[in-house]
């Protein structure tokens, strides 16, 4: 056969060979069909390790318990026992090394997440004691009067019990 037919064919074969060789280097060794079959499991197995070794930041209240046993045990006796320390103090990460100090979220917005009254009967939200933030001491931090670690203690500096406040 004439060489003008063979020549482009050699070029094509060369390109295909080059792609196959390059593929050997570029595609990771662990790339292939894994447990969930070709349709759902075609991937690089090594990436599963990446996700498994992702940094844990929220350590849960059990992590705080030993050093902050006073706060831990006192809040456990109140309705706020269900709230994790890290919900207001931020993720512990590697505290006390990193970060050395955790935040203290005293904002009204933090309390209003649950204690803004919403009349939603189909949700437990309506069963939580809530306020209208525009009428209830607007502009003052909730923690100025209420102790978030002991919300049932009533008002600081006041004698009346919490139940009297609407």
């Amino acid at each position: 056969m004439k060489s003008h037919i063979w020549r482009p064919l050699y070029v094509v074969i060369g390109i295909v060979a080059l792609i196959l060789i390059a593929r050997q280097f570029i595609v990771p060794k662990e790339f292939g069909v894994h447990e969930r079959g070709y349709m759902y499991g075609w991937h690089n197995k090594a990436d599963e390790t990446f996700w498994k070794e992702f940094k844990v930041k929220y350590k849960s209240s059990e992590y705080c318990k030993d050093c902050h046993s006073d706060n831990y045990s006192s809040i456990k006796k109140t309705p706020h026992a269900i709230i994790q320390c890290e919900n207001c103090h931020g993720p512990a990460i590697d505290h006390p090394e990193n970060p050395a100090k955790l935040e203290i979220n005293r904002s009204r917005e933090q309390c209003l997440r649950c204690h803004l009254y919403l009349p939603y009967e189909q949700s437990d939200r309506s069963k939580i004691r809530g306020i209208d933030p525009e009428k209830h001491n607007a502009g003052i931090e909730c923690a100025a009067c209420h102790n978030p670690h002991n919300p049932n203690a009533g008002h600081k500096g006041h004698k009346h019990s919490h139940a009297e406040v609407k």
């Binding site: 790339f31 894994h34 447990e35 969930r36 349709m39 759902y40 499991g41 075609w42 991937h43 690089n44 990436d47 599963e48 990446f50 996700w51 498994k52 070794e53 992702f54 940094k55 844990v56 930041k57 929220y58 849960s60 269900i82 709230i83 994790q84 890290e86 919900n87 931020g90 993720p91 917005e109 209003l112 997440r113 649950c114 803004l116 919403l118 009349p119 939603y120 009967e121 189909q122 949700s123 437990d124 939200r125 939580i128 933030p133």
Partner: protein, 260 residues
């Protein structure tokens, strides 16, 4: 000298012996049988109790920080929706900033900068619905990936390979639940993975840990003693968008027909 009749006879016998022997091996492969009988594979499943959700959004906050999703970017792996059904028959729903800061106003966001100040007496019913990736048994997002960057692990969680993702966005379009988005920093597809780094270490997902009301739970639903598995098997649970045939593994208690 072999006759034609004998040749045909022997070859048929030979084929019969070989095929029946190989068929027997196929049917009773002891190791395969043993493996399937003692199958105790982990399958992660999630349970959301919408009646317990108060819309505080602490789950969203924890999720964003745990999974390094830029806090002020308007994307999130999980979010909470508020549904308010009014007495005039209208349904208004919102999830401002994915409910990262909870729901701290009566006003329901309608979009385009408009709000509706809902009065108590106008409400027929109102509730919150947390949403996250359903880790479908038949994940359409995985099927459409042209490069094998998103995949399902043996325990049913769908992950995204950030090194391999080319950012084409097919998976974002394919997900019927809208749980996928582009990560603002990496430009690759991003989604909830039940906090794979936590559940594989025996911890709970960050949102489950953060929820004060127990509205979110996670467990190995193949484990007969698992709390979540027991509820899914024994109680009236619902899933989202059953008609898509994706077999979602996030189960809901107290779902209502308005939820999309």
């Amino acid at each position: 000298m072999i006759t034609r009749r004998d040749f045909i006879k022997y070859s048929l016998q030979g084929i019969a012996v070989v095929s029946s022997a190989s068929a027997a091996i196929e049917i009773i492969n002891p190791s395969k049988l043993f493996a399937s009988k003692n199958e105790k594979k982990v399958r992660w499943g999630f349970l959301v109790d919408t009646k317990k959700c108060v819309g505080c959004g602490l789950c969203v906050k924890a999720c964003k920080k745990e999974n390094e999703i830029p806090y002020d970017a308007n994307v999130s792996r999980t979010w909470v929706e508020r549904y308010v059904l009014l007495k005039d028959g209208r349904v208004v729903a919102d999830a401002p900033k994915a409910a990262r800061d909870g729901f701290i106003t009566n006003k329901v966001e309608l979009g385009h900068g408009k709000f509706e100040d809902v009065k108590k007496e106008d409400i027929e019913k109102a509730y919150f619905v947390p949403k996250l990736c359903n880790q479908c048994e038949n994940p359409p997002c995985v099927q459409v990936c042209p490069v094998g960057a998103t995949y399902q692990t043996e325990d049913g969680v769908v992950l995204v390979d950030r090194k391999w993702c080319i950012g084409c966005g097919y998976c974002i379009m394919a997900c019927p639940y809208g749980v996928r988005f582009f990560h603002p920093s990496y430009g690759t597809a991003e989604k909830c993975n039940f906090c794979y780094h936590r559940i594989t270490k025996g911890m709970k997902s960050a949102c489950v840990e953060a929820c004060p009301f127990g509205a979110r739970q996670i467990g190995n639903i193949n484990d007969p003693n698992d709390v979540v598995g027991k509820i899914i098997r024994s109680e009236r649970v619902d899933i989202l968008k059953d008609e898509f045939g994706t077999k979602p593994q996030v189960y809901y208690l107290g779902l209502s027909k308005e939820v999309r």
